[in-house]
Amino acid sequence: MFSKILLVAALLIPAIAGAGEEAAPTIAANAEAVQGVQTSLDYVWTLVAAALVFFMQAGFALVESGFTRAKSAVNIMMKNLMDFSMGSLFFWAIGFGLMFGATNTGWFGTTGFFLSDFTPGGDPWVLAFWMFQCVFAATAATIVSGAMAERTKFLGYLVYSAALCAFIYPIFGSWAWGSLLNGNGWLEAKGFIDFAGSTVVHSVGGWAALAGAIVLGPRIGKYSKDGKVKAIPGHNIPLAALGVFILWLGWFGFNPGSTTAGNTDIAMIFVNTNLSAAAAAVAAMLTSWIIFKKPEIGMSLNGALAGLVGITAGCANVSPTSSILIGLLSGVLVVLSVMFFDRIKVDDPVGAVSVHGVCGAWGTLAAGLFNMGGVTMAIITTQLIGIIAAFIWAFGAAFILFKLIDLTIGLRVSEEEEIMGVDICEHGGHAYNDFQITK
């Protein structure tokens, strides 16, 4: 078999990895070769998982646009495209170094900016690792987009998005995950359990979303003069449902991929992820059925996502049976939470705060409660510390950030623009030319 990589071999400084395979068979050579193959397998799995997590960007884009109005669909697609595009660049330049660089404080890293840890010919693992972490950062950023839909200035959003990928997410990330590379955070030092990011990714994104929704205020028409909650139905439920299926698929990269190693541990993580999501979707459907007399699809879809977020922290250290319990509770919780935030007049069109913030916190606690290795007061305390730290940091930093944006370039479009729709005003076009739109 002729590997195309040889085509560029002459151009590449180092010998091609894996060349060792051709070495004369000695015990040592074999041992090394086995290592080499396992390493290759780790790369393949980690990067395949990264690709799946990347695809979650599409899932978020679809869920968010499906749950909002036709006149905002272009804007949501642009926000999701830019979350990932700008996020990749800012995480490359700044975020990755803050999150995984060496640190003596345990509060943020100070090395490895601009992927400087990689030298052509050197160990490419840092690249595989960066790729996987990059899609995680962008996920945190994109969570916020839905909660701020239909009324946010595009420029203001871009500034927020860059800041989250460059600072807010990585700094918290360094506390919990820094030691995965060169860092070493104060939170992980305490034994904080958050295998794939219920808190690090989802709560951080969810609490930032809460800050954004609060600073923005509700969409025109979301609350009647007499303060009653008015429904603003989403314009494309099939797209939203497709988005949820894509997110579920992406989570099979998000959770098991967090091993960043192609080993047998991923089996249980797959199963736990799936069972929690399934249980949560069913629980949310039943809850909505009981409360609204109909099995409502918006809540059922949110339910599946709630179960995925809920199991993210504990997917590697709870049993499949526990995963079902975690999912069931996530499904009930998300419905009640969505209704709660509606009540207190926080207009979150897609339920991002409830799904990612609230269920992320719940999942982090659950990772301690259902720990297969047994639960101690110490574990619970650490989990709570992490949960609270995430809220204080993410909500606080995002709140200040949004206020600053509001005072400077402006965060919200004018009333007239909002009625016309952000698509025309911010992007000069419509999502559905050719269709008769009724709102």
Partner: protein
């Protein structure tokens, strides 16, 4: 000449068309409309918020015809789309000054 406007339930359009054809009516124009009336709408729920949909999908059928035909057509409409249920709709008859076929410039009777 007269213009007959009938507001009917959407799924009755085909039956109405056939009935009118049998009557020798060779032309009509249909429009998607939303109707508010005695027929109460229904509650819908979206992500926990209930709301009433009181504008109900209807179809408006417009028929230009001669004064003589009006009664026949009205009867035909009634007999073909009447379900006896609230919301069956209305028929309005309006006066028309003139009609013209764009293709030929023919007027009035000859234009329909």
């Amino acid at each position: 000449m007269k213009k007959i406007e009938a507001i009917i339930k959407p799924f009755k359009l085909d039956e109405l068309k056939e009935a009118l054809n049998h009557l020798g009516i060779l032309g009509m124009t249909a429009t998607e409309v939303k109707g508010f009336g005695r027929q109460k709408g229904h509650m819908e729920v979206y992500r926990g918020a209930e709301y009433e949909v009181d504008f109900i999908p209807k179809v408006k059928v417009e028929i230009i015809t001669t004064s003589e035909m009006v009664d026949k057509i009205v009867e035909t409409i009634i007999s073909s789309v009447n379900t006896g249920k609230i919301g069956d709709g209305k028929i309005f008859v309006l006066p028309i000054d003139s009609v013209c076929r764009i293709r030929t410039g023919e007027r009035d009777k000859d234009a329909i």
